[in-house]
């Protein structure tokens, strides 16, 4: 496939799945600058790995793998920041129209709960919330489907207890 066609195909697929970039960066980046760096580095890594992408598999699954691997490694890196290819003020993901990407109260609550999880459980939670099947989650994370099922069960309990904390005795007495 000629280079230009390949690039256009990549951009089209990326456009279709741009929310994955945003959500992963939102979950793993601590600051806005971190998130911008993370989006840029993820796109670069996706482009570098794109020649190995097998179209028989879902693009979203493949993209999640790379985005999560980049994000987790990015978070644990102690050294230098990403080299910026875009000029100041230019971003690879833009908010358009009457756009507001600030999450609703419920989603913000979910992000808060997800933020308290460790890196791998965070990935599991995002994939679960995105509606991926156990088999797909297992494929992205590299664990067995039974393991996924067990962990999702535990995750649900944890989210439930965080979102509906059991009232303490004092609260009940009050």
């Amino acid at each position: 496939m000629p280079e230009q066609d390949r690039q256009e195909r990549f951009l089209a697929l990326l456009e279709d799945h741009r929310r994955i970039l945003y959500k992963v960066a939102r979950a793993y980046g601590r600051t806005d600058a971190d998130r911008d760096d993370l989006v840029q580095e993820t796109i670069a890594q996706l482009w570098r790995s794109f020649p190995r992408y097998d179209p028989r598999f879902r693009f979203s699954t493949w993209m999640y793998r790379i985005a999560l691997n980049v994000a987790i490694s990015f978070q644990r890196r102690e050294s230098t920041r990403t080299q910026h290819l875009a000029a100041a003020g230019e971003e690879f993901l833009q908010v358009v129209g009457k756009g507001d990407v600030e999450p609703t109260e419920e989603v913000a609550l979910l992000y808060q709960s997800i933020g308290r999880l460790d890196d791998l459980n965070k990935a599991l939670a995002m994939l679960y919330l995105d509606g991926h099947s156990h088999a797909e989650i297992a494929e992205v994370l590299g664990i067995s489907t039974t393991n996924v099922a067990t962990r999702i069960g535990r995750l649900k309990e944890r989210l439930r207890s965080e979102l509906h904390p059991t009232p303490s005795r004092q609260t009940l007495e009050a």
Binding site: L14, Y22, K23, R52, R65, S73, Q83, L85, Q94, N147
Partner: protein
Amino acid sequence: MELDELRQHWAAYDRRLDEVLRLNRQLLRSTNLGRIRSAMQRLRAVLGFELVLDLILVVALGAFMAAHLSEPRFLIPAIVLNLVVLGTLVATLQQWVRASALDYDAPVATIQHRLEAVRVSRIRSTQWLLLLAPLLWTPLLIVALRAGLGVDAYALLGVRYLIANLLFGLAFVPVMWWACRRFADRLDRAPWVQRLARDVAGRNLTAALDQLASIAAFEREEDGSDRPAPPVPPA
């Protein structure tokens, strides 16, 4: 609010993101994404540089040893230095091979496990090198003076001075270790010094091993049929 309801909110947020987010295609087309070096590429480059440096040192020390085969006072310090450099070379080569085999489109737990293993190996090398450094100063002085200036350190500085230096180095190791444990976390104005201090104190190693253990635990099935996790690299 039930989880299913929250999932619906999440899906609605997804649709909202689809509406308001756009990929800046123009910027992407004009940008050479291949120019960004990923963290892994940077690590591989650093490791490659270290490998070349270690190789040069091994060759140089080998030449020095060959030229001083009949002079144990120069030969022994050179052998000590060469053993350390060879150890570093082997560790760096292992890390480079592990880092080169990493592929970001492989499953997340697998890649994170391998990445952390590289990190553990790297921290261990740095820790040992920094702890040994005060002891290597004396042999380095003897070899460097001889190789660089043709000067005999034993004659110039005296055997007593060299022994005192060696003993000072020996005493300095526990002091350095204690100081790193005591002050590593307070060096937050100089992150790279802090990192080295935490390496010597063993804190970074503990954190990396904890992370490795938590990845291994995540990979294990929790329904009783444990699948063995990849082994932790040897010290």
